[in-house]
């Protein structure tokens, strides 16, 4: 079947779907109400956090002999102490918004409740689902999670919470999660989840390091034994849990063979109406091998620099830079001059050029 035929069939098949009016007034009303609710929650959360901070400060002043700030904590600012989670719980969230979840539940990023058999928390750059727990379906297979709370909206600082399914199967309830919602003090940030491909999927070594560095953390990379198929990369502190801004996060690479080679380089614009030296430029670099079995993307910074970890092999290196080809839907408008071969343990430098005519 040709692609054009399929497109035609898809279009024809929904021709008969009745047209309805978009409920814009209702959407605006609900959206505005949610914004108001979030602002109120933020005020209450801030007040609770302030009380906790004041309490912690008072306690630390009473015991000033032991108040020396840890060496790894820039500033050692006592006024930005982390609120203490309830007993047996830990904070997990996105950006500075966290909820309390059981200490023993691992954070498994980017898998949308289709991972381990035990309960866990899943997380993306903008979303947390708490309480994923694959269930036995009537036909004997495993089905979806039974209860989850979604924490979203890192970009806006607010979030919505929803609890689906039976509450009997979990100690967590909508109320307990709502009550635990907390905004971290200004000196704290949750360890980001670095999903590749526009913010979804399991983080790779490359994407996790990029996310951490983008959030201002100092990164130390270490090799580690394979863990499970859902977590090629873990961190300490754990992804989604609070860490001091600017502190050190250790990234454990559990798939060392799959990331033992390194490609690095710079994205540059060349040519144009006033040709001269190439100009470094930000953009997105895309590295792919011949059969598409390895396909990774990384952002080049403002200085055009990028770095990506891969299995040994031969790769085409492509890129998109803002305004260059992307409006026309051409996501691989820029490229390196030739395919690049890189061996295990080797780091190869390759520059990528966007040729302006």
């Amino acid at each position: 079947m040709s692609e054009q035929t399929l497109s035609d069939l898809l279009g024809r098949s929904v021709d008969q779907v009745p047209d309805s009016q978009p409920p814009i007034a209702e959407l605006l009303r609900r959206g505005q109400a949610t914004h108001r609710r979030r602002r109120r929650a933020a005020v209450v959360g801030g007040a609770v956090a302030s009380l906790l901070v004041v309490g912690a400060l008072a306690a630390s002043l009473q015991d000033s002999d032991h108040a020396t700030p840890p060496a790894d904590r820039p500033g050692g600012d006592r006024q930005s102490s982390l609120p203490i989670p309830p007993a047996g719980m830990k904070w997990v969230g996105v950006d500075r918004t966290v909820v309390a979840v059981p200490q023993g539940w691992p954070v498994v990023p980017g898998i949308y409740c289709q991972g381990p058999t035990g309960p866990y928390v899943t997380i993306t750059q903008w979303h947390v689902a708490v309480g994923c727990r694959p269930m036995q379906s009537p036909d004997g297979g495993t089905s979806q999670d039974q209860s989850s709370v979604d924490v979203e909206g890192s970009a806006t600082g607010g979030f919505t919470a929803q609890l689906a399914g039976s509450e009997e199967s979990s100690d967590l309830t909508q109320g307990s999660l709502d009550a635990s919602r907390t905004t971290l003090p200004s000196g704290w940030l949750t360890v980001p989840s670095g999903e590749p491909y526009g913010g979804a999927g399991t983080p790779t070594l490359t994407s996790e390091i990029a996310a951490l560095e983008s959030a201002g953390f100092h990164v130390v990379r270490e090799h580690a034994a394979p863990l499970n198929r859902w977590q090629p990369v873990t961190t300490d502190p754990e992804i989604g849990t609070p860490a001091r801004r600017g502190s050190t996060v250790v990234v454990f690479d559990h798939g060392a063979a799959a990331s033992s080679a390194t490609l690095t380089g710079q994205l540059q614009w060349v040519g144009g109406p006033a040709p001269g030296s190439p100009v470094a430029h930000p953009g997105t670099v895309h590295v792919v091998n011949a059969d598409d079995s390895v396909d990774q993307t990384v952002r080049a910074g403002d200085d055009g620099r990028w770095e990506i970890y891969l299995p040994p092999g031969t790769y085409r290196v492509l890129a998109t830079s803002p305004g260059y080809g992307s409006k026309a839907g051409n996501f691989d408008a820029c490229s390196a001059s030739r395919a690049i071969t890189v061996d295990a343990g080797e780091s190869v430098a390759v520059d990528v050029f966007c040729q302006l005519m």
């Binding site: 898809l10 024809r12 929904v14 978009p22 903008w126 970009a155 526009g198 979804a200 792919v288 079995s293």
Partner: protein, 167 residues
Amino acid sequence: MDHDAEFSDYAASRWRALVRTGVLLGCDVAEAEDLAQQTLLRCYLKWSSVERAADREAYVARLQLNLLRQSRRRRWWGERATDAPPERPTADGTGRVDDADALRRALGRLPEAQRQAVVLRHYLHLTEQQTAEATGVARGTVKSRLSRALAVLAADPDLAVLREGRK
């Protein structure tokens, strides 16, 4: 133009496509309208992210797919297996409805991931890279999903009748 006005324009322009995408992803019309409404509400709440998104269509498609996943997770609890498939509404006898039904049945036989790739790529006309971003997989995975899906659809007897035209 203020936030609400920009959002209103966007919602009005995207409503029809969102509803129809929902139908092609397996919702009935009422569910598809609910899904479109939820998607637009998320857009409203995250409007600054929508505006800043490097690729707005891929970003909104991802929101819609995530909400669809969530709604199906919840809906599972209200459903139980039966010995026989549930009765479905029959076509009303017109050729156009038959055609639509045939295509939706053919799409329904595809694995969910392949179905999503087909709808995003060939109905919404997203690029492979946009489809990859919306579905959270590599571009190569999108390619292989589309390739397998097209092979399955090409062999589907109901669709063969459609392609050749009804006698």
